[in-house]
């Protein structure tokens, strides 16, 4: 274990940076932007150091820092990363500089915008590293505030409504979760995720909940289920799981595209992370009891969102629904892992496949979806904000490099082998098929519909005769190429040699599967 508080430094870097930039921004916008980017790159460097020092062979948490905070409430400062947290941390560290560079040319209060992005990054880092509910929840909520202002101040015409709905809806889920956790604390006396997971898996937590929380006429089991549902709601809204997803298309569409890069790339992972880190380990029995409805909700998320994407006429709404669809695969895999299988060793392998697939898919989706929104941002910068499906046509003629690179991201998104998306989806489906065959077979419809709407998009925007309105549309500039090039290179790298990323969290997966077997 490292003595050096790397994770604290990681979380503080963008926080300090954000405050500095917010103070500096009124003086000199250019300086503020430069400062912000420096801090983001610094954070990336710290994340890189953590990744380099991380021992991928060891299960469990590394870089642990632990100290009392509010002992009476059993609140500790307790942070650390395992393979899952590390990957999410890396994703966040990669996407923020990319989003900053993509919004480099914005003119409206850029310093403020960049400062808020740093604060958002800090919230994300905190969420992905905290191991005590109290601490974790602060960052979970903290990330909402900059996101709210990013949408509210720089968004599209309906930004006010979108920001409010985004904030209130997510907050609503969070409050349900907070109440549930207060109940858990009341019953168990701890906020420690690691302890709670242990108690959850032995059934001690459920007994404690049932014993402590009395309500006339309500059985202990029902109370535990209610607590479970409270936590579930918090994450289901965030991921989102149908039918708690309606805030998302509007928020993604109204937010400035570079903010959407972070919303879809990193923030949507908070919900999935919550499922994997908190909900499933702490409530395995309760998840199993409700597994069938949860699986069907995951399948509904996959199919309905893919079909709804096909009906959209706004590029950002299409990609927003596509985002829901891709996270649906993660949910399917995560629920499949929870299926009770006894001690069958073959099925343990399938669970390892599905869990690895889920984590990889989270990373892949973050990368691909953020890149797609980055291209939408470039397109909006060229078209003066137009981004309708039918506003363009034949752009490949004038912008071949744009088309080619965005084409790569589109094909990565539809799961073409050789690019990153396929590996995650394959592992999820491979594992889930043996565990929950029918749900998985149905979910493949999503793969088909995704191809339909993404190719329709390509056809309408890039193919066909050139819309003369865009005859002078410039191709990607050298700077813009460099912004998307790292992401594109990663798509190929993961697609061809997935071990590169899977190797980082396979040990974590093994541990999770081992703990959840029975």
């Amino acid at each position: 274990m490292s003595e050096f508080p790397l994770i604290t430094i990681l979380t503080l870097t963008p926080l300090v940076g954000g405050v500095v930039v917010l103070v500096a921004q009124s003086e000199n916008a250019k300086l503020a932007k430069g400062l912000a980017l420096t801090f983001a790159i610094l954070a990336l460097a710290v994340a890189g150091v953590i990744c380099a020092c991380f021992n991928p062979g060891a299960p469990g948490f590394q870089f642990i820092e632990r100290g009392d905070w509010i002992p009476k409430l059993s609140v500790e400062y307790f942070v650390g990363v395992d393979g899952l947290g590390l990957l999410m941390m890396l994703l966040t560290a990669l996407l923020v500089p990319m989003a900053m560079l993509a919004s480099w040319r914005m003119v409206d209060r850029p310093g403020l915008y960049f400062g808020l992005m740093l604060l958002l990054q800090s919230g994300l880092f905190g969420t992905f590293t905290a191991l005590n509910f109290f601490h974790w929840f602060i960052f979970w909520e903290l990330s909402l505030v900059p996101a709210f202002f990013l949408i509210k101040l720089w968004g599209g015409p309906r930004r006010g409504a979108a920001a409010t709905q985004f904030f209130v809806y997510t907050m609503f889920g969070s409050i349900a979760m907070l109440l549930a956790f207060l109940a858990i604390w009341y019953a168990s006396g701890t906020f420690d995720f690691v302890l709670l997971a242990r108690d959850g898996q032995t059934g001690k937590l459920a007994r404690a909940l049932a014993d402590t929380l009395h309500w006339p006429g309500v059985s202990g089991g029902t109370i535990t289920t209610l607590v479970f549902l409270g936590v579930l709601l918090g994450f289901a809204v965030k991921v989102p799981l149908v039918p708690f997803h309606t805030w998302l298309p509007m928020a993604y569409a109204e937010a400035p595209s570079t903010t959407t890069m972070l919303l879809t790339g990193a923030m949507s992972k908070m919900g999935m992370y919550g499922f994997l880190r908190i909900l499933l380990p702490i409530f395995p029995d309760q998840t199993r009891a409700l597994l069938t409805p949860l699986l069907w909700l995951a399948v509904a998320t996959i199919i309905l969102s893919a079909c709804a994407a096909f009906a959209q006429r706004d590029l950002k709404r299409i990609f927003a629904y596509s985002s829901i669809n891709h996270l649906g695969y993660c949910l399917l895999g995560a629920f499949a892992v929870m299926k009770a299988t006894g001690t069958d060793a073959t099925l343990a392998t399938e669970k390892a496949a599905a869990f690895n697939g889920v984590v990889l898919q989270m990373f892949n989706h973050g990368l691909t979806a953020a890149t797609l929104f980055c291209f939408v941002a470039f397109l909006e910068q060229r078209s003066g904000g137009l981004r309708g499906l039918n506003d363009f046509g034949g752009l490949r003629k004038v912008a071949p490099v744009f088309t080619g690179l965005m084409g790569i991201a589109i094909f990565a998104s539809l799961g073409l082998p050789g690019l990153n998306g396929f590996v995650g989806e394959f592992l999820i489906f491979k594992g889930a098929f043996s565990l929950v065959s029918w749900a998985t077979a149905l979910a493949t419809i999503g793969l088909l519909v995704t191809a339909i709407f993404l190719l329709t998009l390509t056809q309408r925007v890039f193919h066909g005769p050139l819309n003369q309105k865009w005859a002078a549309l410039p191709d990607l500039t050298t700077g813009e190429r460099w912004i998307v090039l790292p992401a594109t290179a990663l798509m190929f790298a993961i697609g061809l040699y997935p071990q590169l990323v899977i190797g980082l969290f396979n040990a974590t997966t093994l541990q999770v599967v081992e703990r959840l077997k029975y």
Binding site: Q165, V168, Y169, P243, H245, T246, W247, P249, L304, C307, A308, A309, F310, A311, Q312, T346, A348, T349, E350, A352, A353, N356, G357, G394, R396, K397, F411, L416, P417, G418, V423, F426, L427, F429, K430, F433, S434, A441, T444, I445, L447, L448, V449, A451, I452, L455, T458, Q459, F462, H463, G464, P465, P498, Q499, I502, G503, N506, T509, L510, V513
Partner: protein, 705 residues
């Protein structure tokens, strides 16, 4: 392990490398891109030959040569996903065919695409295709095969949509990708199931592969919830992929539209190689397909394969009869011939299907390239009614095309198509399950001979009918392939023969369209013994025994009947003008209309599947906006209403009451303050007043009552 087995990956690797280099090069480096592509293909062909020679060394004691090289691709948990490649006769023969035909088509493309502004892109995509296709060929893992399979689909998409500014090309590319993906979903599920059931996706792995006896026996023994053996269900799901890729009914609709791509693409991808990948897939997993069968019991999987193939063979041949686009006729012919191959696999096994696959690859590539030469020579004209008499203008093209046509029709003895088709008919005749496929196959043979004769008569016989259209039409037509060579043909109206870079590949292909048949005759079945691992002997007597001769005579009769019928209708009196009705149309306009409309399958799909998809997407969107979104809004309105009520309560009940009380207090206070205003004289006067009143009261009070 022989060197070539270890380095088999170079065969797809070299074209892939060429594609990668070309992709990073500037658009202007034409010579470089073409030489890279062709050079990589030459090397790949050389390696394929080395591999082929290697497979001739049968190890003692085993039927065929088969060596594999497997490696770990990724690890999950304690298990791993393995990929690998296999060298066996099936790989070798397919790799030779793909590299050789591919090489000739690459060379042809140098001439055909010479004036296209995206010349380098074209060669980049072609190389990428070749690499992916060879990946399918060498794969020893269903996963690697699937990966390459999807990449092949991608390149098909890119090349069909190569002239992307044409809306029809863009639509055709999308249609091809999506229609094949429908089948691929089946293949994907089949692959998952196979992985779950057998624990591996490697075909051969020293006894542990999924096509080896241990895994097969396990899957035959498993029964599914619908009562079918798991091996059958998996086989059928994998076959879905083959149906999509090989354009079998009902997923054949994309293949004719794919002719929107440049003609070399049609020849390479949509005739010789990629569309045959479905057939190859079935051949590769044949042990799985035939699992659970016995001597007289045909397993359900093979029955489905046979019937789908036989129906496709006739269905597509019917449509080909009434088409006017030179490439579409060939496209339907391809669909029909692919049906034959499937049927061959079903009734006769791998060798029968693969033999037809190989011969067909040569003569169909020849026909497509020939049609490319015709289109090129006629200034991008594709309608056979506006051709005619090209025999005189394009002698080399005509001669080679005729060879291809005779091979496709299956004219006896001297053409390869005869021998390979006869094998299929012979096997179908002896098929224990039913005689239906045999009759369907025979009907298909008749139709094939008929529509090919019709096409050749229209294109090469009679007199040229193209000049009547005037130059305006020609230039408008010639503008489509990215302004493909306006300067060259601006004035010229007379068809011309193509340059040698295009005719030489035709001649070579024509040569093979003839000789390839002789490697698999019943008298000397070298191909069958090589692929099937049987003992080879030269025996003329085989030609006459077991009904072989009878079937040969029958099929010869059928072919000549078809050609004769075609000649009688179209050859005797070649059409004089482009606008006149077709000879068959004059006889039966109703049937001809149905065939020309392709049995209206596209329209049927338009009205059902596509309509449903759009409708359902609308429903999902509606649900999102109004039902779920509505519920959220209702909750928010409820919250707003509650807040309003709260505010009203506050303002009008609580606040107002409070205000009233305050107001009252203030009012009273005002009154009170009047009393206590600090002025002594007021106090004194009040005291005086009070005193007076008190005195008065007292006076009244003490008054006796």
């Amino acid at each position: 392990m022989p060197w070539i087995v270890h380095n088999l990956w170079l065969i797809p690797g070299l074209p892939l490398l060429a594609a990668a280099i070309t992709a990073l090069c500037k658009q202007r480096s034409r010579t470089l891109s073409a030489s890279l592509a062709i050079g990589a293909m030459v090397l790949a062909f050389g390696l394929a030959c080395v591999a082929f020679l290697q497979t001739l060394n049968k190890p003692a004691g085993s039927e065929t040569f088969r060596e594999v090289f497997n490696f770990t691709w990724l690890q999950f948990g304690t298990a791993s996903v393995q990929l690998g490649w296999v060298l066996d006769p099936l790989t070798a023969v397919m790799a030779m065919m793909v590299t050789f035909v591919g090489l000739l088509i690459f060379i042809f493309s140098v001439g055909y695409m010479a004036h296209d502004e995206n010349f380098t892109r074209f060669f980049c995509f072609l190389s990428l295709f070749a690499g992916a296709m060879l990946g399918v060929v060498i794969a020893n893992s269903l996963l690697l095969l699937f990966i390459s399979w999807e990449l092949v689909g991608l390149t098909s998409y890119l090349l069909i949509g190569f002239w992307y500014h044409k809306p029809s090309a863009a639509a055709a590319a999308k249609k091809a990708f999506i229609t094949t993906r429908v089948g691929d979903i089946g293949l994907f599920i089949g692959m998952l199931w196979l992985y779950g059931a057998s624990g591996t996706l490697l075909f051969y792995d020293g006894g542990n592969g999924c096509l080896e006896t241990g895994a097969l026996a396990k899957m035959v023994a498993m029964t599914t919830s619908v009562g079918m053996a798991a091996s059958t269900a998996i086989g059928l799901l994998i076959f879905c992929g083959a149906v999509g890729k090989s354009g079998q009914v009902p997923l054949h609709v994309w293949l004719p539209d794919a002719m929107e791509g440049p003609t070399p693409v049609s020849a390479l991808i949509h005739a010789a190689t990629m569309v045959a990948a479905g057939v190859f897939l079935v051949a590769r997993v044949y042990p799985l397909m035939s699992a659970g069968g016995a001597a007289d019991v045909v397993p359900a999987t093979l029955q489905v394969v046979t019937w789908v193939g036989a129906i496709t063979a006739v269905f597509a041949a019917c449509i080909a009869v009434a088409q006017n686009d030179i490439k579409r006729i060939l496209a339907y012919s391809t669909v029909s011939q692919l049906g034959y191959m499937m049927m061959g696999l079903g009734v006769g096994g791998v060798v029968v299907g693969m033999f037809h696959l190989i011969t067909h690859a040569f003569f169909k590539a020849l026909l497509f390239l020939g049609s490319g030469s015709v289109i090129h020579g006629c200034h991008e004209e594709q309608d056979i009614r506006r051709m005619g008499g090209l025999r005189k203008y394009m002698p080399v093209t005509f001669a080679t095309y005729a060879v291809g046509m005779l091979a496709l029709c299956g004219v006896p003895l001297f053409f390869s198509g005869f021998w390979s088709k006869d094998e299929i008919l012979h096997a179908a005749h002896g098929w224990p399950a039913s005689h239906g496929p045999f009759y369907l196959g025979a009907a298909g043979a008749l139709l094939t001979a008929f529509y090919m004769t019709r096409q050749v008569c229209y294109v090469f016989l009679g007199s040229y009918r193209g000049s009547v259209r005037g130059s305006a039409a020609v230039t408008s037509h010639g503008a489509h392939p990215a302004g493909s060579h306006p300067s060259l043909h601006a004035g010229g109206q007379v068809p011309h023969e193509s340059p040698p870079v295009m005719t030489w590949p035709l001649v070579i292909l024509a040569f093979f369209a003839v000789v390839l048949g002789f490697v698999g005759t019943p008298a000397w079945p070298w191909f069958q013994s090589y692929l099937g691992g049987e003992k080879l002997e030269f025996d003329f007597a085989k030609l006459t025994e077991g009904g072989v001769l009878f079937l040969m005579l029958l099929s010869a009769l059928i072919v000549f009947a078809g050609i004769g019928l075609g000649w009688w209708l179209y050859g005797r009196q070649p059409a004089a003008s482009a606008e006149g009705p077709d000879a068959l149309e004059r006889i039966r306009p109703d049937i001809f209309g149905l065939l020309r409309g392709k049995f209206y399958v596209d329209e049927l799909y338009e009205a059902t599947v596509i309509y449903f998809n759009a409708w359902w997407a609308g429903v999902c969107d509606f649900f999102d906006r109004w039902v779920w979104g509505g519920a959220v809004r209702a909750v928010s309105y409820l919250a707003l209403g509650l807040s309003w009520l709260d505010r009203a309560l506050d303002e009008y009940v609580v606040n107002l009451g409070f205000d009233q009380v305050c107001l009252g207090l203030r009012r009273d206070g005002g009154w009170m303050s009047l009393v206590q205003n600090g002025q002594v004289q007021r106090y004194l006067s009040i005291i005086g007043l009070a005193l007076t009143v008190l005195v008065l009261l007292l006076i009244w009070g003490i008054k006796p009552s």
